[in-house]
Subunit: 214 residues, 4 copies
């Protein structure tokens, strides 16, 4: 295994494979995550943060483990954007990844709803709630997305002996982020996930400043 394959930057065919991997991966990730979160919500009335956080965190962990060597397993436009800023993918690659992720997210959520009873279709829409203000919600999402991108960057792009199992901290970081934010913004963190669960415009995390340290 050449280390370079974990974030390949070459060849048109490679790009197509990666984009398809991002599409299928994002679909699998959100199929598992949204489906499981719906089931937990249906039981608990939306009040089981550990359950929904596990749904998102563990789903990301296992699917990104499977696809890691092919596309780097972003499954998240914010992570792709930060990889673009730090020079690990190029602009056309970012566009491909972005389209694949948005499409994949829509497919995954649609299948999750299609294979379970339809009563929970509004369960995972992101919105401000529980006394949270819009400004605070923005910064909350902003900081959490930053942390997620930062952990991804440090474990994947900064090559080291644990890069091969980077899917583990990546998924667990999402778990911790959801444990925090589910109460206040229903925890998007991932624009593809927010878009796919049907709210239209959502802020793109501007996490690039933190990478001046990375």
């Amino acid at each position: 295994m050449e280390p370079a394959r974990t974030s390949p930057t070459s060849s048109a065919k490679g790009w197509a494979v990666q984009a398809i991997a991002e599409l299928i991966g994002t679909a699998m990730f959100l199929y598992l995550a949204v489906g499981a979160a719906d089931a937990v919500d249906a039981l608990s009335g939306g009040a089981d943060y550990i359950g929904t956080s596990l749904a998102f965190g563990i789903s990301l962990l296992v699917v990104s483990w499977a696809f890691f060597r092919i596309s780097g397993s972003h499954f998240n436009p914010a992570v792709s954007f930060s990889s673009l800023i730090t020079g690990h993918i190029s602009i056309p690659q970012f566009v491909l990844y972005f389209i694949a992720q948005i499409l994949g997210g829509m497919v995954g959520v649609a299948l999750a709803r299609g294979t379970s009873p339809s009563s929970q279709v509004v369960g995972q829409v992101n919105m401000i709630m529980n006394g949270e203000s819009i400004a605070r919600g923005f910064w909350l999402e902003f900081f959490l997305t930053t942390i997620l991108c930062f952990v991804y960057h440090m474990t994947v792009h900064e090559k080291n002996r644990s890069t091969f199992m980077a899917a583990l901290p990546y998924g667990l970081t999402l778990f911790a982020c959801h444990l925090f934010a589910t109460r206040y913004t229903n925890a998007a963190i991932n624009p593809a996930r927010a878009f796919a669960t049907s709210i239209s415009a959502r802020r793109f995390a501007r996490e690039h400043w933190i990478y001046w340290f990375g």
Copy 2:
């Protein structure tokens, strides 16, 4: 350690050892999983999805870790079938694995019931419930089994640096699948498990299409 040993395809004696490993492993897996799920159900009235999902996921994780180098730790006819389709095991091997898994599942579930009070014997039977339709239940099981087989395939057959610990994502994938499907179909995903917990015919996942990508 020769990498080849993780999915050996040779020698009659090796086949026998593998089949015995699949039998004992499936029995241990379902002994732990069904027993723990029964205990959690008895306490919560069947309403603790996290508990039952942990029971299945962590049981698979640890038992497949133990047997991984011997038989590849399928413990699941669907995974064996997908390995057959992708050419990693031969037809006679698949038949051996299949028989071992069905027998092992029956032994494991019988022992789990035999060593705990008998009042929960119907707890883990797979059935459609909570407003789920049969068609949706079929596709739900189908997609989840596909994802499980896919993760197994990508982490085990596509050799890489994390193959030696593939039991970790394998078990956690089952956890995520159960978190989704426990509410709707009681989460079979594994025909040996469905058979062993006493419903007769259950669909074989036709997951091979996805491997044209793998």
Copy 3:
């Protein structure tokens, strides 16, 4: 690192260090586990199986990770006994380990009770309950201890690439065992733990038969 150090069988000084490691490790393990299980029980009235299982499983995971290279991190007379049967430790070593584990268990539990309010002192005593019979309880403990010893044996003594992180499946196996048995026997699995939490005689797992396969 010489692989041989993971289960050293030589030198009197090495034996003393190992015995001390087993004593301190068992004390740390049961200090964390019993203390945390007491706290969870005090809140839930003994009805949170996931919480108590996490207390035991994760405590074993982290403490055995820390001591792994020194003594092999048994912390359990049953595991030591099975290591004796399979020839990985000698009889005098087993005696030393056994004494260290019993003493360590008593120290750990005493400290856990000494540093928290005394109202929960009966919380973790092992007894048959919830309609379980004595015979079934015996076999339940027997099978679960067998599985624990088997996983330990396969990941530690059968050297492989994941031996260095064997503490992970070892701890998670205990988690799964507790999830099953907490309801019925309060989950001893470990004679040192059962003894330390104050019931006198408890069966020694006769798990050696399974090793004829190993």
Copy 4:
């Protein structure tokens, strides 16, 4: 990767980078942990020990994974102090780490409160409760901090094959410690965390005695 880089002891510029890493890391850790614990407490009225323990344990796990190769990811004055005692960092380094951790903790907690509704601001203050006495509380914190430092020391300073993923046992140890102590002292274990959540003086763990074994 030179092993030496995991706990570097040289060069003024290296020290500055490490101190900044400790500051940002401690801020990220406590931002995630306190924010998530607040959210869980707001839902459960402070009675979900598993949730708050997961918040702290998993947050530490992922952030220390990200920063591990830069500063060793202490994020805790007690761990830094024990590293000083055992000679892995020098006195000026310890002072830098200490200041960075205290500042980082204050920043992290302030941001966590700033980006969520303000009603939970007293949630994570450490105090003695649920019938615990001050003396027992002291020893409880003392023993748990000792165990945390000991696990850190054994997995990081005693170099071995699993050092590269030492963040995993480090985070899970904190999880187990919190599961024990949340009920009695609200689980500080980390002076920077205790300070940052606004109680003034808190004992420095005197864990150095245990290292005479290490």
